[in-house]
Amino acid sequence: MADAKPHNPIVINAQKCVRCDLCDWICPGDLIHHEEGNKDKLPVVAYPDECWYCGLCQSVCPTSAITIVFPERMIHNRTDVATLLGKVVE
């Protein structure tokens, strides 16, 4: 289930960001939106819970303004793997 306020995986440093459109352009999931050519507005992570954590935005950013931050449930995961392996219905 989605969290009430989804974790933001794509942290954009407003000081470093040059508002260049590249992160919008490269995102395979259409998550990052930036009005083309608008040098005043920061890119917006419009659908943070649809992030694949691929880091393509970070890799393409010309000023290293993007950091990928993993949520707690990924880094310190406590799921019992056996619960992913199905229920037995006789």
């Binding site: 289930m1 989605a2 919008d24 352009w25 490269i26 995102c27 395979p28 999931g29 259409d30 419009a46 659908y47 819970d49 649809e50 992030c51 694949w52 954590y53 691929c54 880091g55 393509l56 970070q58 890799s59 990928i68 931050v69 993993f70 949520p71 449930r73 990924m74 880094i75 310190h76 995961n77 799921t79 793997v81 056996a82 992913l84 392996l85 199905g86 229920k87 037995v88 219905v89 006789e90």
Partner: protein
């Protein structure tokens, strides 16, 4: 046509701009044909399946030794696929491997090791030779994309194809929309290649995050669902694939480590993989995943990856290639505070996906003939959505074959393309846009979660007749709710279509799993009520097609090619 439809006429329409789609476009462009590519992403520079570059490429090279010949590998294919394989198509793909490999080199991809200047070939995934070239393929897809761009294909980005246009079992285009601009397209084409990849977001994983998946979560079985609706046959849809991932992050990268000598240990510190296969960690991917699943079910978890015994030089190589498959993997280890050189790394079984069940040359998806053509004339499929698949090289080779097949189809087609029925077009669009702003509707995320939970519980790695029936009931009840799905914006509308495609694929998977009353390839198809592999009765394909009431199943002996089941063959015979 109304002003608010954009109409395009072309020779070839390609759905999906990944490796298979790009490789299909290239021969068509070389033949001077007009090509339109629809792609949900915005670039052609990355692989469709994993979004990045690649670090290994499977090929025979025909360099002299017997093992490096197509015929030698072909001999081993039945055993690699547990007997469920279309040998006609797999045979053609393997025979074409050296030619396509050289072609990709001619596009500028450098497969050679930068230090030695030679190919660094490894044995992995249980293959009977060192067929995997380990290389820095960061720019692999860039070279393919460049060739497509230079060939002046029309590329429609952020555009999703929602329905194929067919007449008399022949494809002549598709309906698509741009989910940024809201522009709707009618694209008429003399041939269509479907190359939209595998099916993800179909079951739960450790993190519980739907989009945290091993392969790209934006591949949602669009081609399989559309092909099915258009009348194409699907096969091997009962085989699911899981891989092993660092726990909490469903990403690729572990197999590369394993092929370099890392191994698995269970809670007791026991290296257990030899219990499941005499090749140990060099077994096929399906066997490796199955071994870990078994250990978890036996209560021997957690399972860990151990790299600590490896020499520094290999660890350096690992560290260097780790981020080729998934750029963020080093950051994950860093934020987690794990150093795989010195510590055990806890691993998990990934979510399930429908791809090729960890097996080379047996894909799960649209059944194709030796030219990559499906049961619907002029409709081709390649890559992970087709019945012969094999990672990047499988996509490249069958993609190119399908492109050449499409060129032949275009050349043998005369006369004008049909005019689509305007009312039917309007109805497709009206049904789609009705999801927008349906305030009382079911959110697509909720719908998808229900599909995932059902698949995880009853269609996953432990199947029974009763469980599968239960799943089908739920999945069919969900289908009835599809018209009420809510999209908040155009992006959400694209996701609604994806969610519907995922559910459709889940239903097809459940139907196929119910039909195959045996267990085959371990957890790829494990029936608790039929726990043995039954070669006497089940050396057969399970084909699924659309019937008046939903999916219907047929079986076909694996002695015969899948195309023997195609209606268009019967019609023209």
């Amino acid at each position: 046509m109304d002003q608010n439809w954009t109409t395009l006429d072309t020779d070839l329409l390609v759905v999906g701009g990944g490796v298979a789609g790009s490789m299909a476009a290239i021969p068509a462009l070389e033949a001077g044909l007009k090509v339109v590519i629809c792609e949900k992403g915005r670039v052609l520079d990355h692989c469709g399946s994993i979004g990045c570059g690649v670090d290994h490429y499977l090929t025979v090279m025909d360099t002299g030794p017997e093992w490096d010949t197509p015929e030698f590998l072909i001999k081993h294919v039945p055993e690699l696929t547990d007997g469920i394989v279309d040998m006609a198509v797999a045979g053609r793909v393997i025979r074409e491997m050296p030619r396509i490999f050289r072609k990709i080199e001619s596009l500028g991809v450098d497969f050679r090791d930068r230090k030695t200047g030679d190919y660094y070939r490894l044995r992995s995934f249980g293959l009977p030779g060192t067929y995997h070239i380990n290389f820095d393929g960061t720019d692999f897809k860039k070279h393919l994309g460049e060739r497509v761009r230079k060939g002046r294909a029309t590329v429609l980005m952020r555009t999703m194809v929602v329905q194929l246009l067919t007449e008399d079992n022949r494809a002549y285009g598709a309906i698509a929309f741009n989910f940024r601009s809201g522009e709707w397209y009618v694209i008429r084409a003399r041939s269509v290649v479907l190359a939209a990849g595998d099916v993800n977001r179909i079951s739960r994983n450790a993190s519980g995050l739907a989009f945290d998946s091993w392969h790209i979560p934006y591949n949602t079985g669009d081609a399989q669902a559309m092909g099915y609706t258009a009348g194409a046959a699907l096969a091997n849809m009962e085989s699911v694939e899981a891989t092993l991932t660092p726990k909490g992050f469903s990403c690729q990268g572990l197999n590369a480590l394993v092929s370099l000598g890392a191994y698995f240990v269970n809670r007791a510190g026991e290296r257990f993989m030899f219990k499941y296969d005499s090749k140990g960690e060099n077994a096929r991917r399906a066997v490796i995943a199955d071994g870990v699943i078994n250990e978890y079910l036996l209560g021997n978890g957690p399972i860990y990856l151990d790299c600590r015994h490896l020499p520094q030089e290999l660890l350096d190589r690992m560290e260097h290639t780790l981020q080729v498959d998934r750029y963020t993997l080093p950051a994950f280890y860093q934020q987690k505070g794990v150093n795989f050189r010195e510590e055990l790394v806890e691993i998990s079984v990934s979510e399930l996906s429908i791809r090729r069940s960890g097996v080379y040359f047996r894909g799960s998806g649209l059944a194709v003939d030796v030219n990559g053509e499906t049961a619907v004339e002029a409709l081709f499929a390649a890559g992970d959505c087709a019945t012969v698949s094999g990672g990047i090289s499988g996509a490249a080779v069958l993609g190119h074959i399908a492109g050449e097949g499409a060129v032949q189809r275009v050349r043998s087609t005369t006369g004008a393309l049909p005019d689509p029925d305007r009312q039917a077009l309007e109805a497709v669009r009206a049904r789609s846009v009705a999801h927008l702003g349906r305030q009382d509707g079911m959110p697509w995320k909720e719908f998808e979660d229900a599909t995932r939970q059902t698949v995880t519980d009853y269609v996953g790695v432990r199947r029974t007749e009763k469980g599968l029936q239960l799943a089908l009931e739920t999945l069919r009840a969900l289908a009835k709710r599809e018209p009420t799905l809510r999209a908040d914006d155009l992006h959400g509308l694209m996701r609604v279509h994806e969610s519907r495609n995922i559910r459709q694929n889940a239903e097809i998977m459940a139907v196929a799993s119910l039909a195959r009353r045996e267990t085959r390839t371990g957890s790829a198809h494990r029936r608790l009520d039929y726990p043995q592999t039954d070669d006497k009765n089940w050396r057969k394909f399970v084909l699924v097609e659309r019937g008046p009431e939903g999916p219907v199943v047929r079986t076909l002996s694996t002695e015969r090619p899948l195309s023997d089941a195609f209606a268009r063959r019967a019609a023209t015979a």
